[in-house]
């Protein structure tokens, strides 16, 4: 057996293991997905809304926060204007005048993490609720989340993000994508492995965040970094599947790539920062760190192996054309007479399990019961696009080109 086959075996083994893990987790916990702990204490909450050039969204976001079902005397809203060039500050000031529990901070542009840290300095709440300025929490979202904080170990609780703008095909694919992201994150909650507390709506225990020094301004995805930081210190992170926040997603491929490059870069940065915790600290060290590292490795490895396969199968055929003028006449074209091979078996098994996995994920979310065609289209058209931002991220990481993200 060729050495390369061991690489294929490793890739399929890990891929099948992870898909099996999610399927089993779902089977065991499908009736508990939407559960949230009973609320026994109403904590005081400081909403932090960092805003950079958000004149089109800020007012509606703040309105959604005001409308959240929570006692007025227990919530304050801190809007941090991050040196916006549009009328964001003007809108924020207008809102501050109108509502007594709104505070506006104005600062030079220094990035989201630094803006949040400025907010944390003046926050009075026991909990911090971070809300992106283009996101809209549902009225009952906070009440579905705060019960988790009755457990002293809980450092953060995140929510389920749904797509607000459903304008084109890319947005519709992202509805499916966000469904899978939220569903898998909830499943990971059952094994203490929520490794991202998303930007649109996540709640943190103020004391713990202050203790670890707040958000890391050097990281392009401060939400991933702070989650790993909390986990590495032994705190728990949770996800409330029934707490919903709507957000605007990229509407063009260019914007989508830019967003995903940022996610990947942040993921790699965080991985580099915490890789020493691998196999050291319970679920974090034994699962989260290896899982995220593996996700990157499998994606890149899978792409390289696919290219290798296409090269071996196709390159010599194309190259043949150069040898004879009427080369096409002598080409064998694609041979559909496929022999049974072990790798073919693993490939088909992995593909079928992935389809079952997606089907379960969609069914348990807003995407609903999708047809096999929809799932195939998501799997074969949208998912392969992931490789573009991933490769760009590696390129940017290697060349040190991450300035334009950190502002």
């Amino acid at each position: 057996m060729d050495g390369i086959n061991y690489v294929y075996f490793f890739m399929f083994f890990m891929g099948i293991f992870l898909v099996n893990l999610f399927i089993i987790l779902h089977k065991k916990n499908q009736y508990r997905l939407f559960d949230s702990p009973k609320v026994t204490k109403i904590y005081s909450v400081s909403f932090l809304v960092p805003a950079y050039n958000e004149e089109g969204n800020l007012e509606n976001t703040v309105k959604a926060i005001i409308d959240i079902d929570y006692p007025e005397n227990k919530k304050e809203i801190i809007i941090i204007n991050d040196g916006s060039k549009d009328s964001t500050l003007k809108i924020a000031k207008k809102l501050e005048k109108k509502h007594s529990n709104i505070i506006v901070l104005d600062k030079k542009n220094s990035g989201k993490a630094d803006s949040l840290n400025k907010g944390i300095e003046i926050a009075k709440g026991e909990l911090l609720a971070v809300v992106d300025a283009d996101s809209y929490p549902k009225r009952d979202a906070l009440m579905k989340m705060i019960g988790h904080f009755d457990d002293n170990k809980t450092g953060a609780v995140t929510s389920r993000v749904l797509v607000k703008n459903k304008t084109n095909l890319l947005c519709r694919y992202q509805i499916l994508d966000y469904s899978i992201i939220a569903w898998t994150r909830k499943l990971l909650d059952f094994v203490d492995s929520v490794y991202v507390t998303n930007g649109p709506l996540s709640v943190y225990r103020t004391d713990y965040v202050r203790k670890i020094g707040g958000f890391d301004p050097k990281n392009v995805t401060e939400d991933i970094e702070i989650t790993w930081h909390l986990l590495s210190k032994g705190y728990q992170t949770r996800m409330s599947y029934s707490a919903i926040v709507h957000t605007n997603v990229p509407t063009s491929l260019k914007e989508w790539i830019k967003q995903r490059v940022r996610w990947n870069l942040g993921g790699i940065q965080t991985l580099v920062k915490y890789w020493r915790d691998m196999f050291k600290k319970r679920a974090f060290g034994f699962f989260v760190v290896p899982y995220v590292a593996l996700s990157f490795i499998l994606a890149v490895l899978g792409f390289i192996l696919l290219l290798r396969y296409l090269w071996i199968k196709g390159a010599s055929k194309v190259y043949s054309l150069f040898f004879v003028q009427n080369g096409f006449k002598y080409l064998k074209y694609i041979n559909l007479d496929i022999s049974f091979t072990v790798l073919l078996f693993f490939g088909i098994t992995f593909f079928i399990l992935a389809i079952v996995h997606y089907k379960m994920g969609f069914k348990s979310s807003e995407a609903g019961n999708k047809s096999i065609l929809n799932i195939l289209s998501y799997t074969l058209i949208y998912r392969p696009l992931y490789i573009i931002p991933l490769l760009l991220s590696f390129y940017k990481m290697l060349t040190g080109d991450i300035r334009w993200y950190t502002k």
């Binding site: 057996m1 060729d2 086959n5 075996f9 083994f13 099948i16 293991f17 992870l18 099996n20 893990l21 089993i24 987790l25 065991k28 059952f190 094994v191 203490d192 679920a283 699962f287 390159a315 010599s316 055929k317 190259y319 043949s320 150069f322 040898f323 004879v324 009427n326 080369g327 002598y330 080409l331 064998k332 041979n335 007479d337 022999s339 049974f340 091979t341 072990v342 790798l343 078996f345 693993f346 098994t349």
Partner: protein
């Protein structure tokens, strides 16, 4: 109690791992089963061909000793055998393309290469005996080609297939892996001064390297 709950929560990793190992064992079992089946079917055919080959060899002895007028029948038998062997050779090539867990197919391939070499030698004797009524086209190819060679071989094997199709029972086509590590093949390669693969040897006389189209190759035939 808390410790028990914690332990149960993480059992899912063990369950998933076990399930994955089972899937892998099933895959490897099926892989070995199909591979054994293929090797067995090649091996069964080989046993028949071995008998056919011996039969042909004996017929050759017989015609040399006894009767020159029986050439037609001998040639016919030779062609039937050559065609069967050619078709089975293509099947082995296909199996060889699939990744293998064992080296059994290569061993079977070597036995086939020996059989083809024997058929070639038989054909040479038959040609001498019967006044060169047909052509032998021996295609020496590399069993471990690089990209360029693989591309060339892909074309040449198709061109030779066309030559054979056009010429019918005027050509015995014998594709032989020239670098498979067999003494008799190495001997022939040296004997005919073949210094690279792929090479096409026509009637033990003309050696063509690289790609030549079907008409050109046909021009070298008797």
């Amino acid at each position: 109690m808390v410790h028990q709950i914690e332990k149960r929560k993480f059992l899912v990793f063990l369950e998933s791992f076990t399930l994955t190992v089972l899937i892998f064992l099933l895959g490897i079992f099926l892989g070995l089963f199909f591979e054994m089946y293929r090797v067995q079917s090649i091996s069964d055919n080989y046993a028949n061909y071995e008998i056919q080959s011996l039969d042909l060899k004996l017929q050759n002895y017989y015609y040399q000793i006894m009767d020159k007028n029986s050439c037609e029948s001998a040639i016919e038998q030779n062609f039937i055998f050559a065609d069967d062997l050619y078709k089975d050779g293509l099947r082995i090539e296909k199996y060889e393309e699939a990744e293998q867990l064992t080296k059994n197919i290569i061993t079977e391939k070597k036995r086939y290469v020996l059989l083809k070499t024997e058929l070639w030698l038989n054909s040479i004797i038959l040609k001498e005996k019967c006044g060169n009524p047909f052509n032998t086209v021996v295609y020496f190819y590399s069993n471990n080609p690089d990209l360029t060679t693989d591309a060339q071989q892909d074309i040449i094997s198709n061109i030779l297939g066309e030559v054979k199709k056009n010429a019918g029972d005027k050509v015995v086509l014998l594709p032989i892996a020239g670098d498979i590590g067999l003494g008799i093949v190495d001997l022939q390669v040296r004997n005919y001064d073949i210094n690279s693969f792929p090479a096409v040897l026509i009637n033990e006389n003309e050696v063509l390297y690289g790609v030549h189209d079907a008409d050109e190759i046909s021009g070298y035939l008797n």
